[in-house]
Amino acid sequence: MTARLIRQPGAAERHPVRTRRRWTATKVALGVSVPVLFVVLWQLSAELKWVDPFLYPPPSRLGHGIATLWEEGRLVDATLVSVRRVILGYLLGASAGLLVGFLMGMSRVLRAAFEPFSWGWYTVPKLALLPIFLTIFGFGDTSVVVLIAVTVYFFVWISVMSAVMAVPAGYREAALMLRAGRWDMFRHVLLPAALPEIFVGLRIAAGVAVLMLVGIEFVISDQGLGYLIEQGRTLLLLEQSYVGIVLVAVIGYLFALLVKLVGRLFIRWRADDDAIVAS
């Protein structure tokens, strides 16, 4: 015998509260420091003329861009318009996706009938269908919202359907023994079992909604953050563009975070952020 393995309480066991608090602090610090580092590098590379500061406005000039837009009153307007559109579109699309996803996940006949068709539609470039939407829903916000909804719908639909199909048969069998009807099966088994995967899909779709919003606002809108970005680009007001891009990123991040937090409310039974291999 040449080695001795020792199992001792680690810091997490000896000081659970302190360790947890420390980890939370570390997490926040790391999460903040990486973007900060990025911003610093970006600024530095502009200062040291590694990159052309006109083409890539340094962060220090974003403040100026924000101030300008703020004074003109366009910043708040654009943000509000965009946020309203994205939230409405997302809610609509996600609801439809959840509904259809569950129906198709639960019925193989529906799946056989509509899966190929839906996959085909999934890759139809929605922006190319814009004229049709404009004709049907008019040139107002409705078209934008509907187009976002349609895009979001497909992403949610796929996630939900796959998640429902992946629910282990054992769970369904136990409910069948309790004579669960389709509704009960949905309510007590499929929905909660699929929820973790569904929320991954919903988070992905939150990002997609924001990306689609920007895409649409590039093309048709005279409002919103996408318009700010696009206008900045065509007018070579790159500061304005970058302000818009950063704002969109922040909104997208907050939106995805919101979806994650809502998910945590619903999925209380599962530990959320475990280290898989301690590191």
Binding site: L178, R179, H188, R270
Partner: protein, 281 residues
Amino acid sequence: MKHVAPLTDVDTAADAAPAAPQRIAVRQATRSFVAGRRAKVDALGPLDLSIGDAEFLCVVGPSGCGKSTLLKIIAGLLAPSSGEVAIEVSGDSRIPIAMVFQDYGIYPWKTVRANVDLGLRLSGRPIAERREIVNDWLGRLGLTDFADAYPGALSGGMRQRVSIARALAIDPEVLLMDEPFAALDAQLREVLQDELLAIWQARRRTVVFVTHSLEEALLLGDRVVVMSARPGRIIADITVPFERPRSGAVRTDPLFAKLRGDLWASLHSEVVAQFDTGRQK
């Protein structure tokens, strides 16, 4: 009320009901599985079995012989490959058949309480009544402290107890139990065996009880059937002569040892046969 069980048809009875108070009739049931590109596996039968109303039937047999498969067929979760199973139910109760699964089958997203409550909830019982029943069962199975815990925080035995509580709380006409006490310590096992006997003796339900313990089978059952190695057929069918109400004391009865010996003998050749096949290859 007419409830359509999955994979099955419901006949209103009295068309060809047998004279004897028979609850479950298994006729020439077989089941085979095809998994991927592997050869067909004959898991069960052909098997004939008749289970009387209010009978406590224990099923023993070598591992992998088709006991769980048989239970699933009776439960209606799996269709037989051939043959037929008929189960008489009163039609009064919302959930006539309850099952304790070998792998527990409880839901990680529901607390212990919600898991036990589920069957009652689905059968639409009033909430106050449900609460009482659930608390009662949680107490009997020693789970009161963990009523609000999620199954992820339970030990193996505790999970199995949740599964038992859920099935018993329904108070079904037919109770199918697939090695319900396997993960429990000897003491708890005895406590629950007594509990089960008490319940069963108070109001007689039909119980099909799969176990690996010959003692348990003899202690609990009116009848013990022994299944052969895969594909499982019935190779012995023993009526247990001990009087009800029984207690653990029957273990010391010489007849108990004899019956156990009989069961053992009928099983032993099966197991040995199975292993010889394995080893020679």
